[in-house]
């Protein structure tokens, strides 16, 4: 019979510096946590919150209309200016765009995410992730300009409509007021399509993660109790995927609210919040109004998150 030789156990006393440090940290676990968290806390506190506060402070100053100088005394005059009709238009236009992009992204993303979560295995799962992530690897500017070419009057989309004899349909659509225009690349619809494309991965991934956590037995149970597939979708699948949809909508909504490049390259001359901020702090030199505009998406997102929280979207987190 073999027995274990217990006479020569491995050395266990602390000798080197790193071993003594390990021992010291083991005795003071709070010190270890502090060391791990402090750098990121400092970053968050000073760099992020600090600059945010500086921005907020700017919005309570105003600009002297004659000299163009900033007057450093607290006032709400800049916010009053925000409520002028042409500035309110910018806010409403931006919120409408963000909302429609978010809703469309949720509708487009759901079936893709559902397929990936429920049916894709092995190689197809890899293809799915690659397909969703690949666009994120190339520059966002390149993608937007690529879309400008696709949507242009001489672009591939019009060419395709022309070749199948459906150009009349495209012309009819472009003649619609508000969402139409000379060509898709200078229309509200064009801006919408590009936004939908660039932010779609940010909706697909959280929805897919949420759907992956829904046990298959849950869907079987619903069917077992007599629910048709459409009823299972409404009463079980969507409610259980809601945290993912909300998480995705936070991305798509806030990214659209703040973006100033897409509407500048593809779309009409009507501005969105991001463009307004860009122009007021740059060429116009009206930093207070730019700051006030920048506060709008922050407030909207706070309201949005509060509503989402009340609806129980974060209960499952």
């Amino acid at each position: 019979m073999t027995t274990l030789d217990l006479s020569a156990a491995p050395r266990r006393d602390a000798a080197g510096l790193s071993e003594r440090v390990s021992d010291a940290l083991w005795r003071r676990p709070r010190l270890l946590i502090a060391l791990l968290v402090l750098p990121s806390l400092a970053w968050l506190g000073i760099v992020y919150l600090g600059s945010l506060f500086a921005l907020l402070a700017q919005s309570f100053f105003s600009i002297d209309e004659f000299s163009g100088q900033i007057r450093y005394e607290l006032t709400l005059r800049t916010y009053a200016e925000l409520f002028r009709a042409h500035n309110l238009d910018i806010v409403f236009r931006t919120v409408a765009m963000a909302a429609s992009v978010t809703i469309a992204a949720a509708i487009v993303a759901f079936p893709i995410a559902y397929y990936a979560a429920r049916y894709a295995t092995g190689r197809w799962k890899a293809v799915f992730y690659l397909g969703v992530m690949l666009p994120l690897w190339s520059s966002y500017l390149v993608k937007v300009y690529a879309w400008k070419l696709i949507l242009a009057k001489e672009g591939i989309l019009n060419w395709a409509f022309e070749s199948v004899g459906l150009m009349w349909l495209m012309d009819a659509y472009l003649s619609l007021p508000g969402i139409g225009g000379n060509s898709l690349s200078v229309s509200w619809t064009g801006t919408f399509l590009v936004f939908l494309y660039v932010w779609l991965p940010f909706m697909i991934l959280p929805v897919q993660a949420a759907l992956e956590r829904v046990p298959p037995s849950m869907l079987e149970a619903s069917g077992d109790l007599g629910a048709r597939p459409s009823q299972t979708l409404c009463h079980v699948l969507i409610p259980l995927a809601l945290p993912g949809i909300i998480a995705g909508s936070i991305f798509t909504f806030s990214l659209t609210l703040g973006d100033y490049i897409v509407p500048q390259i593809v779309g009409t001359s009507a501005r969105m919040i991001g463009q307004a901020v860009y122009q007021y702090q740059g060429t116009a030199g009206n930093i207070p109004l730019a700051a006030a505009f920048a506060v709008v998406p922050i407030l909207i997102m706070m309201v949005y998150l509060a509503v989402a929280k009340r609806k129980g979207a974060f209960d499952a987190l």
Partner: protein, 328 residues
């Protein structure tokens, strides 16, 4: 009389794997039927074929005489209690129980009343407003049961219903399920890998192995009269004796089974050496070596116990050596 559930030459293949490999089965109305077998033996697939979550590769499943080939789960007169209970986490207990009535378009007041009644049936009155996450495992199990029973199914399917419960609760639920089945008169079909559970609850047991039913019969049948070595080994923990040994002990040249509790210490019996001893409370299990064959014996409390390595003499009543079919 038509049977509640009928399988005719049912097969289910997953690629090259034959999960269910030619099952014929008939479950009578009002029966408490157990499908017993190790994991991967095809018993759960058979249950899912009844529920409609899987469709047979060939053969036919019928419920009360109606062929189910093209009938989706949501149109079948059966309901399932899932192994993980599958309660909807976003609904409270009452809405979980009333779910089936809700999708059927029942009015709110009526389904509320029916749900509360079903909760009373499973001894959970007043739990309607809680969330499933606030319940214990045993309570969730009862909610899952109520949710299925509220639909008044013709056949209730239970997939390893007691698997996740601790021993005491499991024994209590066994008695309750049996009482409930007798009271409601619904056909219960349940899947388990626990032979004790199958034997104590069911009227009839089908033992599965490798996608086939190896034996179906009453609990007494499969326990005392196993037809194959597999059944003898899986149902209880019989000593399996190979043909040579059976022949020497006076049987034919076939496999035989000897229940551990049938083995007694008797002077003048067959000589065997004690190789191990385990105290089990009510009895003591001896491991013996009889001419190179391992035999376990369960000795009741109060027997004089031999020491390790001692030679003892063992015997059994003539009928206790159960001879199996020659071909198995």
């Amino acid at each position: 009389m038509t049977s509640a559930v009928q399988f005719s030459a049912v097969e289910k293949h997953y690629g090259a794997v034959r999960a269910v490999d030619g099952v014929d089965l008939s479950i009578a109305e009002g029966e408490f039927f157990a499908m017993l077998g190790p994991s991967g033996s095809g018993k759960t697939t058979c249950l899912r074929l009844i529920a409609g979550f899987e469709r047979p590769t060939s053969g036919e499943v019928s419920i009360f005489g109606a062929a189910m080939g093209d009938v989706p789960p949501y149109r079948r007169p059966v309901n399932t209690v899932f192994q993980d209970y599958a309660l909807f986490p976003h609904l409270n207990v009452r809405d979980n129980v009333a779910y089936g009535l809700m999708v059927a378009g029942e009015r709110k007041r009526a389904r509320r009343a029916a749900a509360d009644e079903a909760l009373e049936l499973v001894a959970l009155p007043g739990y309607g407003d809680r969330k499933p996450s606030e319940l214990s495992g045993g309570q969730r199990q009862r909610v899952a049961l109520a949710r299925a029973l509220v639909m008044k199914p013709k056949v209730l399917l239970l997939d390893e219903p007691l698997g996740a419960l601790d021993l005491k609760l499991r024994e209590q639920m066994q008695d309750e399920l049996k009482a409930l089945q007798r009271r409601l008169g619904i056909t219960f079909v349940f899947v388990t890998h626990d032979q004790g559970e199958a034997l104590s609850m069911a009227n009839r047991v089908a033992v599965f192995n490798d996608g086939r039913i190896v034996q179906a019969g009453t609990p007494e049948d499969v326990y005392y009269r196993p037809e194959t070595p597999f059944v003898a080994d899986f149902v209880g923990s019989s000593n399996l004796l190979p043909p040579e040994l059976t022949e020497r002990l006076g049987g034919g040249r076939v496999h035989s089974a000897l229940r551990p509790e049938a083995v007694r210490l008797t002077p003048g019996g067959h000589a065997a050496t004690v190789t191990g001893r385990a105290f089990l409370g009510q009895s003591t299990r001896l491991t013996l070596d009889m001419d190179g064959h391992r035999i376990t014996a369960l000795l009741p409390r109060g027997t004089d116990l031999p020491a390790d390595g001692e030679t003892v003499h063992i015997g059994w009543a003539p009928g206790d050596l159960h001879l199996m079919k020659a071909d198995a």
